[in-house]
Symmetry: C2
Subunit: 395 residues, 2 copies
Amino acid sequence: MSFYPPRRTLMGPGPSDVNPRITNAMARPTIGHLDPAFIELMEQLKGLLQYAFQTDNALTLPVSAPGSAGMETCFVNLMQPGDKAIICQNGVFGGRMKENVTRLGGEAVMVEDEWGTAVDLDKVRQAIAEHPDARVLAFVHAETSTGVRSDAEALCRLASEAGMLSIMDTVTGLGGIEVAVDAWGADAVYSGSQKCLSCTPGLSPVTISERAAEVIRSRTHPVQSWFLDLNLVMGYWGGGESGGGKRAYHHTAPINALYGLHEALTILKEEGLEASFARHRLNHEALKAGLEAIGLSLVVAEADRLPQLNLVSVPEAVDEAAVRSMLLNDYNLEIGAGLGALAGKVWRIGLMGYASNPTNVRLCLGALQHALVAQGLNVNGAVRAADAVYTAAGI
Amino acid sequence: MSFYPPRRTLMGPGPSDVNPRITNAMARPTIGHLDPAFIELMEQLKGLLQYAFQTDNALTLPVSAPGSAGMETCFVNLMQPGDKAIICQNGVFGGRMKENVTRLGGEAVMVEDEWGTAVDLDKVRQAIAEHPDARVLAFVHAETSTGVRSDAEALCRLASEAGMLSIMDTVTGLGGIEVAVDAWGADAVYSGSQKCLSCTPGLSPVTISERAAEVIRSRTHPVQSWFLDLNLVMGYWGGGESGGGKRAYHHTAPINALYGLHEALTILKEEGLEASFARHRLNHEALKAGLEAIGLSLVVAEADRLPQLNLVSVPEAVDEAAVRSMLLNDYNLEIGAGLGALAGKVWRIGLMGYASNPTNVRLCLGALQHALVAQGLNVNGAVRAADAVYTAAGI
């Protein structure tokens, strides 16, 4: 029997609501992965990704698998067995980076910060001083598990001043906040399709600096993954020394998913990066005002907050799982639970891409207020407080 | 600007024509990867994959990436560094298996057969006798580069008699010809979504025997790929010792692509495996009759032919690329070129899944005949010959 999903509003940590233009694009007829029309799509996609990443990197492409594979692509291509990496961990995904490094036979030096706080630059400076032989400095720009933004520009600079390559996770960042790959001098950057790009999950946009591409081309030890070997992927997507020449078959590209990503990036370009960032900020402000009106506070310090992913403290005596269930069952609204050390203590409310809009903010605030009242709290005025922010912004 | 693909008829080695029911399913609203409704979809998907693979294996799931990643999943999970594998190569994909083995630190013993012929069982017996310490015997059931079927049942039996694990590539086989995983005793089997399942590319159905799953659970060396580590994937998809319990987040599943695979497998089950196999055989017979009527011959010996992928010899003095261009430009029809050693010498005509139908057979034969006439050959009667086959079959 065919599967008909319920219609949810997705305000968790991703996937986020998908613009119907994107699912419509994905439903267009499949063509071959070596079809001249598809090659043209690939060229356009590269240009659109370069726009989103603010880069001229020739090696800019969507990895044919989710963000986790994008992460693995960066690590297994830039590092060889025996290489050392400094990994900043302030949430779930730094730990995953460590797994990547150890599994490829590398050594991971961890710089740990409390979950919910940004990466401490001083600790990183110290780690660099203690490990000048590290090849890579890796960090999460926008931590999906905590809603924290770290200072990517400063971290990339620390890496390049120390002669290290930077690997940046901006799965939750791209399209929602500034990601200026060239200006920051980032070397390997990966993202995901299903966050602020509002596409369906399954693809991981990646961009690699010329300096890092040269490292990949001059490896002495083959990349351990055949599927993720960028030396081979370059032969299909271009970006290698011969860039733009003949397309050699490597693997069968996920054609229709790429139609979707193309449409998602087209929508982003139509809106413009700055306008998208401003929209994410405004809806964050409105959500925050509404949350505060009903006694809910944001966990992350103001300077480090991601507008697209809000970590909300669960009040004492509130059954956090019951609240999420009520939102899902009564409102078809999904918000996220806490991960790891934060499980049971927080909610994660996403306002990503297409989902970052006043309707969703009002829906979420009204539903949360209802759920808190059902839990015995005497609260009101959430939507009114958000509306005041919109009114002040002239919309 | 949005991308509008041309409408092609896909009769190459895959992707094949996608049933519109599948693209419609993919366009349904995205839900979360931990949504109860999605967990229900995952359970259904497992059952549908078990039906297609003819297996009860608990560890049966779609890898969230194309067939190449399915291959890598099987090798990196079943093998550890230092392990030896006997690899049968009779086309492109045996060579890729070798790459997988060497990149994980294993040793590959190659059993080579001429491209376009089936794996020679005697050579395999000899390799097993010479390398009784090999852990794995790997082979391609349905070679996408040559259109050859090898005797999977016999190869699996040789492996299990020798105490080796079998790894079987049936990317092009599943849904088009018999794939009887349990009856054959295959240990690790991978396929692709975009061949006889007629889904869009991007997913790789995989099934692992309990014997192989136990090997994976008792590894001493971690799987080199975090993304493809089935010990972790089992936590999300089930199939581990605790099977069917709580779903732990591993990576974000490609939700909408899985809607598509679910629909593709639903369609297969509605038709029934035997009916699907019979349809593939009949359309192959009709195509063959038409090809022979215009002087084109199939390269592969009759007993070893895949009905869903026909390797056609390019006649002397015919410009094979010009023929493919004419088909694409004048008929919006894609057929495949030769790969590797066969480049320039053959065409690959796919009749896979939804694309295996009389309309496509007639379109392809008429177009090919036209193209050969344009190349100066005096040929006719291709469609008439195919129609005679359909008439004889009572349709």
